[in-house]
Assembly symmetry: C2
Homo-oligomer: 258 residues x 2
């Protein structure tokens, strides 16, 4: 079956979508059949892959009991990479789900069939910048949380908050086996003192979780989404692309993905 | 009385807080008595000014009918700059407010006294990265929306969404006089083609709204918040600081602030 990764951090603009898209593309490039699910009503992962937002095309229907997650899967231009796109109505899902008694477990039950099937080796969930009901659902459904942490801002404060949420979900029994899979350091600029201070601080607190691969700040990475291309398609030899390839192989090793 | 500016963009990490803090500091430096209200449960504006999150210290109480906004005002180290800090519980305000029939107008009524009084010339609201109930309340209470737009990402799609929300609030009568006060282009890197393309695109669609002042990408700007300092305090002669001073005088001229 599939290993489910949720990429979350309530802080905005810290590289969640850039990591979701390029890690997924990196795994697909290594022949791991990967499904990316866009949970952000902004649909940035959907447009970064050159795909359209379609009304009724997202996981929103299945989350509220209409249709199956597998019906929403679309192929992308990238071999081995499939997508469930986002739609604007996903924002309404937060309010609708909150009226459901089991509001935390809807994603988990939506993905149960996909997780058991041999169709995918990895399922990656891209979250919006908030610890709202959609992100909580994604955490309750995940095997591992991957946190992207920007090296430009002493973001430890936000990190503490999301780690607390993981603890609460585990102890409340919503997801007993949820683990912090890893911390991805993004937008690393080796010319600044602050970047190495943030990395050193994270290593001190979470030595086993932090990934060796650091994602450098790279203009090409920030340009690729405007053309609906992954880093591998837009800038195959670039430093950002190379880092995401390395991250993909580090993830494959750490979680024994095939 | 005071002019109320809401700084919002549902896209994360586009410089909302950096602009809220440094525009407020820039106006305060020109002797405009300024109040900054932090509406983000992450409390980034609060920590960027070196202030503590305090339970019960935010606008949350007044929004749900307990206490007055003026009771929550604290002084900062910066002359002419006061703050209503954020607290983690603000995240609960979204759910609580949604159960109130007049859920959109709570912020407007909270600020009514402060707006009429001569205490402040400008009130600035820093929003979380979402178009949830807190941001909607901030828009319903504002005279002007200021949108920060990152030059690194073809962010026009998100811009269209928030402009639609403004239209809806105006036509629904929630805030008939709300105007788009301006678009602040942030993280402008003159070495990249994409940055000038994004600026040209925004100028084409919103020629009157876009501010002349562009905020350059500057490492010093991203370091200042980790030390709890404004750009003016941390890097008085820097390019980012100079840009925010220029933006402050452009805002004073455009909105006739004293
Ligand atoms: N390593 C990098 N180097 C340069 N720019 C980057 C890098 N990673 C991301 N960016 C740019 O920074 C911005 C924020 O990244 P991204 O959208 O991936 O963050 P996010 O956490 O998903 O944001 P949100 O909170 O809105 O979902 C985008 O413009 C993106 O292109
Ligand atoms: N002009 C700039 N040059 C360099 N870095 C910047 C600039 N403006 C903001 N930053 C950095 O980019 C990151 C995002 O900025 P900021 O927190 O102000 O955005 P935001 O829109 O308020 O984010 P959120 O959506 O989480 O509220 C921060 O690390 C900040 O220090
Ligand atoms: Mg994103
Ligand atoms: Mg902010």
């Amino acid at each position: 079956g599939a290993t489910v990764f949720t990429i979350a951090n309530q802080k905005g603009g810290v590289g969640k979508t850039t990591t979701a898209v390029n890690l997924a593309a990196g795994l697909a490039g290594r022949a791991v059949r990967t499904l990316l699910i866009d949970l952000d009503p902004q649909a940035n992962a959907t447009s970064a892959l050159g795909m359209e937002k379609r009304e009724g095309g997202s996981i929103y229907g299945p989350l509220s009991g209409e249709g199956k997650a597998s019906d929403k899967i679309v192929a992308t231009r990238v071999d081995n990479l499939s997508l469930i796109p986002a739609e604007v109505d996903l924002a309404a899902a937060e309010i609708e789900l909150s009226q459901n008694k089991d509001y935390l477990m809807q994603m988990k039950s939506c993905l149960a069939g996909l997780r058991r099937s041999k169709q995918f080796g990895a399922i990656i969930l891209d979250c919006p910048p908030a610890l709202g009901i959609l992100s909580m659902n994604a955490l309750a459904a995940a095997d591992y949380l991957l946190v992207t942490l920007q090296c430009e801002y002493l973001a430890m404060e936000g990190l503490g908050q999301i780690l607390n949420v993981v603890e609460t979900l585990r102890s409340a029994g919503a997801n007993k086996k949820l683990k912090v899979g890893g911390i991805v350091m993004t937008m690393y600029d080796s010319r600044t003192k602050l970047a190495s201070q943030v990395v050193a601080e994270v290593k001190k607190h979470l030595p086993k979780e932090i990934f060796k691969t650091k994602i450098p700040r790279s203009v090409r990475l920030s340009e690729a989404p405007s053309f609906g291309q992954t880093a591998m398609e837009y800038d195959p030899g670039g430093s950002g692309t190379e880092a995401y390839r390395k991250l993909a192989s580090e993830v494959m090793k750490r979680f024994k993905l095939k």
